[in-house]
């Protein structure tokens, strides 16, 4: 897709001068960036570079010391996770976060039901909130169709990761933040995960922000990459640019 046309619209996510310290440690230092509609942005950096802290500040899990975060130009600092989700922000967690004792189908439905109908219709309406078909489509899309009625906890790790991601999409969000989606997933699974994410992005124009350790995965998935080191942005650009960037290499080699 061509960037200029996208720039016309307001950024999906704006982060301005975000800072967060734990005692003496300044985990995030005055970070600012925009995320454009439909792009796949990668956030990378060596361990302890502040990726996760930044992520949690954006999502309101942590209260930043300073700075502002806005979704579609609307400030979201301090709003609850559920409100954020209703604003069309989906997320996944670093550690597996499926509901192990519920079936795959239920996992997906619960991810969408709060966006359908009212409190009352959710009590007196159909038990599946009329979402079964939509859910099954999404499950199919993530190639989990044959497991729809298995308990999520009985799936393989990779499958659970897929499910975890799928849940973030059920509500049809405009922006999805993926926290280390590739973590601990085997190569074949990784391939299909990446392929699925790219397809989804192409089909729905959904914006992604991805935190990842796995360089190859990020490089091949993202259209743009921001590199953090010691809590500050040290580089930004296309995968190619980043590959070539000396500062990044230094940072990773512990320069």
């Amino acid at each position: 897709m061509n960037a200029p046309a996208m720039n016309a619209l307001p950024p999906v996510l704006t982060v301005r001068n975000l800072s967060k310290s734990f005692g003496a440690i300044r985990a995030v230092r005055d970070v600012s960036f925009d995320v454009r509609r439909g792009e796949i942005l990668g956030l990378i950096g060596p361990n302890g570079s502040g990726k996760s802290t930044l992520f949690n500040c954006i999502l309101g899990q942590l209260a930043p010391d300073g700075g502002a975060v806005a979704v579609n130009g609307r400030p979201i600092s301090g709003s609850r996770a559920s409100t954020l989700n209703k604003l069309g922000v989906g997320r996944t967690f670093q550690q597996l976060s499926v509901f192990p004792d519920m079936t795959v189908l239920d996992n997906i439905i619960v991810a969408g039901q709060e966006h359908h109908g009212s409190m009352l219709s959710r009590l007196f309406g159909p038990p599946d909130a009329g979402l079964t078909e939509e859910a099954e489509r999404l499950i199919e899309f993530f190639r989990l169709g044959h497991l729809a009625h298995e308990k999520a906890g009985s799936l393989s790790y990779g499958q659970q990761k897929l499910l975890d991601a799928a849940m973030a999409f059920m509500a049809g969000p405009g922006l999805v933040l993926l926290d280390e989606p590739a973590g601990g997933v085997n190569l074949t699974m990784l391939g299909s995960l990446k392929e699925r994410l790219l397809t989804y992005n192409a089909e729905h124009g959904t914006t992604f922000v991805v935190i990842e350790h796995n360089m190859e995965f990020v490089m091949s998935l993202c259209s743009r990459i921001i590199v953090l080191a010691e809590g500050a942005i040290i580089a930004e650009g296309s995968p190619e640019e980043i590959r070539a960037d000396q500062r990044v290499i230094d940072a990773y080699l512990g320069g």
């Binding site: 954020l84 976060s97 004792d101 619960v110 039901q113 038990p127 308990k151």
Partner: protein, 325 residues
């Protein structure tokens, strides 16, 4: 075959309930009635505790509210069928009012607030004797009649109770299967994830508590005509703890846990009675042992055995730990 197993067993259970009292003495029929009634109250508490993960120590006082409202209305000639919903509504409303401030705050303040509330209700019931009859309580409530079917006979009343019990459980079954129920489960297994998927955990918890309280009210509405005498002492804090015991011993968060728990809590003293004065000690002792070795209660024990046999089945999120404070 698997598909028909559940309805089949439920049908069997219902059949068992119907034949259970035949040829039994009044005492056993009476005990069965109170077992069913406490099962209803415990099932309500289970929604609050097992599904929404909040501790309520006031279930007995909701039974009290239900019982007194029903008693006062029926004594003034209102039919039970009208008094019962009033009792449930009142408890629902009180539940909302009580839960709102407590659930606003982090942590488990609902437990503390309800603890205080239970004793307050007791004091009001005892001191406002112009309304509640004070320490002497209220006496002589008629048992409801339905045209040809009059429940004043112990056995008739039992079947009446079975009917209400069945309806109440069906209602709970519906709630648990509805999107709400799914949200409750999600809440229990991973609240943070649930919140991130748009589940308004705070509101849901409040509603769970209010509905649970309404079930307490329903149980109360049955206690009044069963005992035909109610006084404050029967709804003191210790009875709330007893209900809590039923839920946890049976298995919090399992649909039939409270029913099983109620059976155990009501019958175990009966079975242990031959040990004379020591049965309360043994009884409490065995509860401690159960809690230490299987925090998820009796159904949890079953679940663990099952784990051994079919390892591919996964344990519920909090199976290992039991509901958390």
């Amino acid at each position: 075959m698997r598909r028909y197993r559940t309805p089949l067993l439920l049908a069997l259970g219902l059949a068992a309930l119907i034949v259970a009292p035949i040829g039994q003495g009044n005492y056993i029929v009476y005990t069965l009635c109170s077992w069913l009634i406490f099962s209803i109250a415990a099932t309500g508490l289970n929604l609050t505790l097992g599904y929404a993960g909040q501790i309520s120590l006031a279930q007995a006082s909701f039974m009290a509210i239900g019982a007194y409202i029903t008693a006062l209305m029926t004594l003034n000639g209102v039919h039970w069928l009208l008094a019962m919903p009033c009792s449930m509504l009142a408890c629902f409303a009180v539940g909302l009012a009580l839960g709102f401030p407590a659930l606003r705050v982090q942590g488990h303040f609902l437990a503390f607030v309800t603890l205080a509330f239970n004793t307050l209700v007791f004091l009001v019931l005892r001191n406002e004797d112009w309304l509640t009859g004070g320490v002497y309580g209220l006496v002589g409530m008629e048992r409801p009649g339905f045209g040809l079917f009059d429940t004043s006979k112990q056995l008739h009343f039992y079947y009446f109770t079975v009917a209400v019990f069945a309806v109440a459980l069906a209602g709970m079954w519906w709630i648990v299967r509805s999107p709400w129920g799914r949200a409750f489960k999600a809440l229990r297994e991973n609240p943070i994830r649930a919140e991130s998927l748009g589940v308004d955990t705070r509101r849901l918890t409040l509603l769970a508590f209010a509905i649970g309280s309404a079930y307490g009210g329903l149980a109360g509405a049955l206690v009044a005509p069963l005992v035909q005498f109610i006084e404050p002492g029967s709804f003191a804090l210790v009875h709330s703890l007893r209900l809590l015991l039923m839920v946890v011993v049976g298995g919090a968060g399992f649909f039939f846990g409270p029913v099983l728990g109620a059976a155990v809590v009501i019958l175990l003293p009966e079975v242990l009675r031959f040990t004379e004065g020591y049965y309360l000690i043994l009884y409490a002792g065995s509860v401690i042992v159960l809690m230490v070795f299987c925090p998820t209660g009796l159904i949890g024990v079953y679940g663990r055995l099952r784990q051994r046999l079919f390892p591919q089945r996964v344990v519920r999120g909090d199976m290992a730990t039991g509901p958390q404070l």
